[in-house]
Symmetry: C2
Subunit: 273 residues, 2 copies
DNA sequence: TAAAAAGTATTAAATAATAATACAAGCTGA
DNA sequence: TCAGCTTGTATTATTATTTAATACTTTTTA
């Protein structure tokens, strides 16, 4: 059993501008992700929600009920179990539709995906993780790995490596300092020194190439989307799979494609202003 | 009002289990979608949030601040404007990863998208709208039309038509009764009678084909994903564009593809139980 | 079938959210 | 540059809203 699941309660401070109830509602929603990850459950009972969210029975009851009323959770009247509702996708849309990067990137990603018929992703940094924001899935991979909103520790993902490589030093240090270096696959590089080396190399090359770092059989390539100061605010990432692809083939074909796509997105993004 | 005199005006029941603050927080998040749609804004000032959410200045301040603390909104310190943060994608992931339909559908959608190199979507009913849940984008369409979480009134989308056609009568009536029949394009069928006719036809055919109903130049085809009672709980939808495609070509090639894909998903979903 | 566990409903108490307001900081146009 | 305006931020007293405890009901289990 994995110890070290950080059970940190946030310190909102004695802030009169902070509404604690909102946090608790989100804690309930987060419980479902944890329930799926740790217990493999896709619906939860009230007491499971209570355990996973850290809220007591009454609070779980109130917030669960509220979220059902609002349409963000569904309740099975027979089993009395709760599950996330489609309406939760509203927020993803809200984020993406307000995001000019997504707008500029989408056509480039589609183009890129057609070159070799590969999956192409856009990802961004969020805390110590990267989050996949746009995905053009072409291969039938491990299901979870194909979903938008997926999080992976930045240090273990090629997208994270190139973003960190082209980030301000303080951001880099902060992320590496707070990262939890647990292996994702048996080949994941978890030694902080080795991670730093990989980041340096990515900075030199302008891309990163990782073999089976976050998924078995996967060769992952990524290049940064840079702003005018040469700092990254996103990454284009293409995964391909062995044995269909070899590292040599990836270097020859995927690396240029990823770099060119990232460069094009950057160019379009800063084209008008 | 006298202190110490406690009139029990509050009706016991769901009221005490409803946390209004949660609703207000979501109202703030919704404001961004409205701001983008109605004003074309991708970030909002505090007063704009106040207007769009219907919350007063103080409430907007408190909930905005709370959402920033939690990482769901970002604040530009210079412009003092707020925008949705990547973290919002967490909920989309939560929904999708807990959803066996998505898991079963994804590989089928990918396969289908390769047959003619078209976009393929999965959608579900949410109130009077459909929401696109999984998307395999292949064409460079109108940006917003490519995003997961996009909502369209069910009556105007072929995915909505086929789901409604294969829904219980009371669901159908409820949706049609509450729908707001505004035209999406200039060709949108908005007459409730005509919509009902289209639904009947879709029930007979097992698919729907709509021309420029929700996007110019678009020919949209959809087929329902059915449960064991023959009721729909989702739809597979494929959009193609004129003049590259004609209605005749769509009937010949896309219709069978959409129907077979939907059927396959349904089959896989109920394969084990 | 009894006992335990989980889910639901109710309520008194008080915390935590509210709305009012004061203050500060940016804008606008003269 | 300066009023005058709008918008954003900070601070309060007040109370309504949330809370936690608990009683009650249903379901699961042993």
């Amino acid at each position: 059993m994995e110890a070290g699941l950080q059970e940190k309660r946030r310190k909102p401070g004695p802030d009169t501008l902070y509404v604690g109830s909102v946090e608790k509602a989100f804690d309930v929603l987060k419980a479902f992700r944890a329930g799926q990850r740790d217990l493999g459950l896709s619906d939860l009972s009230l007491s499971q929600i209570s355990h996973l969210s850290g809220l007591d029975k009454s609070a779980s009851q109130r917030f669960t009920n509220t979220l059902v009323e609002l349409g963000y959770l569904e309740k099975d009247r027979r089993t009395r179990r709760y599950r996330p509702a489609v309406r939760l996708l509203d927020f993803a849309y809200t984020y993406l539709v307000c995001n000019r990067l997504a707008e500029v990137a989408m056509p480039r990603l589609i183009e890129a995906s057609k070159v070799y018929g590969t999956t192409v992703n856009l990802c961004e940094l969020s805390g110590t993780d990267i989050i996949y924001t746009l995905r053009i899935p072409h291969q039938k991979e491990y299901f979870r790995a194909t979903l938008p909103g997926r999080r992976i520790p930045a240090f273990s993902a090629s997208g994270g490596i190139v973003i960190l490589a082209h980030s301000p030093a303080d951001t880099l240090d902060l992320v590496l300092e707070h990262s939890e270096y647990r292996p994702i696959t048996q080949w994941t590089v978890t030694d902080p020194q080795a991670v730093r080396a990989r980041i340096s190399e990515a900075l030199g090359n302008g891309y990163d190439l990782g073999v089976q770092q976050s998924l078995p059989h996967e060769i992952s390539t990524a290049a940064p989307v840079l702003n005018s100061e040469g700092k990254a605010f996103a990454a284009v990432q293409i995964p391909v799979y062995m044995p269909g692809w070899t590292v040599e083939q990836v270097r020859e074909k995927i690396v240029p494609l990823v770099m060119e796509t990232a460069r094009a997105i950057s160019g379009s993004y800063f084209a008008e202003g």
